[in-house]
């Protein structure tokens, strides 16, 4: 997908856009919750992505699809896609940027508003999910998402990962690697970006003032995609 940079920015109110902070570190996750402890409203998981460090690699995409067992049938129009890289180009100067785009884990998710069965829901800690046990595959949420972040599974699936059941006839999207988060790990894209990529992605609790992500959001400029929609996304970008 390629979007004109102007148009892309026009999606949101153009906030400040100053220089960027170096030194993204791998998130310090406070502690894994115990399996008997429910997700809590005191937390809000999010991502901060510094796209000035986002090189042309697509390691986050392959890491995500590997972790979640998302494999396609070489049919780009219908294959599921949990994360993708979007190219932006300024038509006047030709300045090009790339950014990874996935479910933005909105505080006010349109997908949840339109879901007729309650399958789309926001977990207490801010992670927006599909309960595939309830999903009837109507795809209203796919239409409602302003980020095009959701996919429908069109074909029977085999070889699923034990942690990530997937099957035909349901909608799915980035889960922020909820199975890893519940074990106290960062999402696969973040881990891989920090290990093999441009170290552009940070993950953490947006509510916890002691985290790296909170500190940077507090002291450095960042923005939400389509901030005009006031969805209050959990995924924030820098350097856009």
């Amino acid at each position: 997908m390629s979007v004109d940079r102007r148009q892309f920015l026009a999606w949101g109110t153009v906030a400040a856009g100053a220089a960027l902070a170096p030194g993204l570190r791998l998130i310090e996750l406070a502690q894994a919750r115990s399996p008997q402890e429910a997700a809590s409203v005191l937390q809000r998981w999010g991502l901060l992505i510094d796209i000035t460090k986002c090189t042309d690699c697509d390691r986050c995409v392959s890491a995500c699809h590997e972790e979640n067992g998302v494999s396609g049938h070489e049919r780009p129009a219908t294959d599921a896609q949990w994360i993708r890289t979007v190219g932006l180009r300024d038509t006047r100067t030709g300045h090009a940027q790339t950014l990874p785009l996935m479910c933005q884990h909105c505080e006010h998710p349109p997908c949840v508003d339109v879901c007729p069965t309650g399958a789309s829901f926001k977990r207490d800690d801010g992670i927006v999910l599909v309960d595939k046990h309830i999903c009837i595959g109507c795809r209203y949420c796919v239409m409602a998402c302003p980020y095009g972040a959701r996919s429908f599974v069109h074909e029977a699936v085999s070889g699923q990962k034990a942690d990530v059941p997937r099957g035909k006839g349901t909608v799915e999207a980035c889960t922020l690697c909820v199975h890893r988060v519940d074990r106290g790990e960062a999402p696969a894209c973040v881990q891989t970006c920090n290990r093999d990529g441009g170290k552009a992605m940070a993950f953490g609790d947006l509510n916890d003032a002691s985290t790296e992500i909170h500190r940077r959001l507090r002291s450095e400029p960042s923005r939400q995609l389509r901030a005009d929609l006031a969805l209050n996304t959990g995924v924030r970008y820098q350097g856009l």
């Binding site: 919750r33 399996p35 008997q36 402890e37 429910a38 997700a39 829901f121 977990r123 207490d124 800690d125 999910l129 309960d131 595939k132 046990h133 029977a156 699936v157 070889g159 699923q160 990962k161 034990a162 942690d163 059941p165 997937r166 099957g167 035909k168 349901t170 909820v178 519940d182």
Partner: protein, 128 residues
Amino acid sequence: MLRFAVAVLVAVLSVAALADGQKTRADRVALPTIKIEQGDACVAPTSEMRRDHMKFLLHQRDRTVHQGLREPRHSLKNCVDCHASRESGSVLGKDGFCASCHAYASVSIDCFECHTPLRQRAATKAPK
């Protein structure tokens, strides 16, 4: 003495007849293959598991997906880890633990359209 011999004979015959009856019944209806290959006990007494395993699973499903509670006890992954066949590594297939009893009881479930039926790690003890 005679009476004793008759008693013995009757006993022998009735045991043989019983075995015979069981054999013909088994030939007519393919009984489920319930082969327990590992673990010394299930997560609940067998009689309770037979009756209520689906309730445990559906309850756990909602707890995990909506609240992020990942207690191992009634987790589907966990049933699979313990009950998968040593040979095929799966709970499905002709003699698969879940599949063969469901075939016998004429139950069809869709869980394994999404969930893997394959064991991920060896389970030996029932989790608390």
